[in-house]
Symmetry: C2
Subunit: 309 residues, 2 copies
Amino acid sequence: MSKLLIVGTVAFDAIETPFGKTDKILGGAATYISLAAANMQVPSAIVSVVGEDFPEEYFDIFKTKGINTEGLEIVKGGKTFFWKGLYHNDLNSRDTLATDLNVLEDFTPKVPEFYQDADFVMLGNLHPAVQKSVILQMRKKPKLIALDTMNFWMDSALDELLDVLKLVDVITINDEEARQLSGEHSLVLAAKKIHKMGPKYVVIKKGEHGALLFEGHKVFFAPALPLEEIFDPTGAGDTFAGGFISYLAKTKNISFNNMKNAIIFGSNLASFCVEKFGTARVLDLSEKEMKDRLEQFKILTQFDIQVTD
Amino acid sequence: MSKLLIVGTVAFDAIETPFGKTDKILGGAATYISLAAANMQVPSAIVSVVGEDFPEEYFDIFKTKGINTEGLEIVKGGKTFFWKGLYHNDLNSRDTLATDLNVLEDFTPKVPEFYQDADFVMLGNLHPAVQKSVILQMRKKPKLIALDTMNFWMDSALDELLDVLKLVDVITINDEEARQLSGEHSLVLAAKKIHKMGPKYVVIKKGEHGALLFEGHKVFFAPALPLEEIFDPTGAGDTFAGGFISYLAKTKNISFNNMKNAIIFGSNLASFCVEKFGTARVLDLSEKEMKDRLEQFKILTQFDIQVTD
């Protein structure tokens, strides 16, 4: 079992879906990633920032789950990052109604000393310069650095993004972002171009259409579990990424074959995340539920074809 | 090895994609389905209609491939069904520029006597009343009847479609059509409702996002093979359906587990179909190529996860 260092947002989310709406609830990339790690019993630390308005009960959630928050800075008088989103009827698209960066605007990440030799690093979606600053604070070269990003940084900080990409092993982005970053429509060609930017492994998230893993000419595909209802997609991508890297940190094996398993495990966790608002479902998830659903993934994808002559 | 009876269009297609365009070339659902069957060495017969303008060389293609054309009626003085389509840059959407039904307008299918006891029947996309008329001509109950349809018939002949659905075992439709037919956005719920309309097996085609097979609460998913380039998607859905039912006809096993293999085999054939214009690629496909690509499907989808404690 290796230590996992996580950088990313810790946020208030206000979410509206066709099924209901929430006031400000706990959200943010680092939150979802660390809760995924907790479900895998992988020791993790968050590097992030919140305002003085961040409630004690949310700190308690991290503590209860054994997540190290030494690197979770509290800015006196500051306000926590706030995101408000409205999902459309098909839950595949959403409008962002508010993005108040607040304390994130002047965030300088500080990696706790005990995690400066972590073997696994997950750089959640944040300014690429912040992501890079975390890498530079590592005392020894991690076994694996994974980075998540989004179109916003491709539009506003492409040079810094290309700069940090040279330092990472895995990139996780969605299909449209892969197309934007590469200028290629075909995801196979997009992955090829992104490999050349640095990451040896390219993970392309397609939401309800699953996820692809590329390493050179090798490709693996994991479907999303078909669900009767998707209640709230918020955090599914981060939960997927968190499950992915936690599986690798737990097994300490970064071969392509084990990455396949990690992709499946990420998909497994993400399938729970969407069942309730925000973090509710991943906060209340048993080992047995995860194992049972893994069986469903096997039934969903495994076959034993014999070509007859 | 069982006999496969196929009803569907035999057509002229004129296709334009970002990669080029064709004049009138051989197309139609029954064409693609029967060529898939030929690639699986499954004996098949086409029930369809063409005009006097249908060239001898196209008849020769069917003959060379061992496809029975006794049921392929030639209407004297008539013109063959013509479809013209323009694919957009992403190849996921297209505009239909022309649909000249011609001889299809008054088509009364006649099943050749030798195929009236076929164990497998594939009803390609056509008016549901025509599809039903084929079923009624069968001398004995087939082992499996599969039906493909489209939104056009849901809009224009829903009662007849619901009528024929009661008689079939498998329906293959795309995701948007499944949603339209069921009124459900979730494909899991859509499949549940469609089961109640008759088909025990519901196959939902998602194009580049793969295909789902539902039987009751059981689900299987096959991805489309990620390709560097999709040259022409025309016929991919019919080739998929043709590969699917031909695999079942060849193995004479309609268990859920064997249907998984059939779905993979259909996806395998469809992945070739899109590599060239029209039927060009499936007309020139070796056993070895099919087997090699099957290995790619295994690498793409198979994993061996162990949940550690």
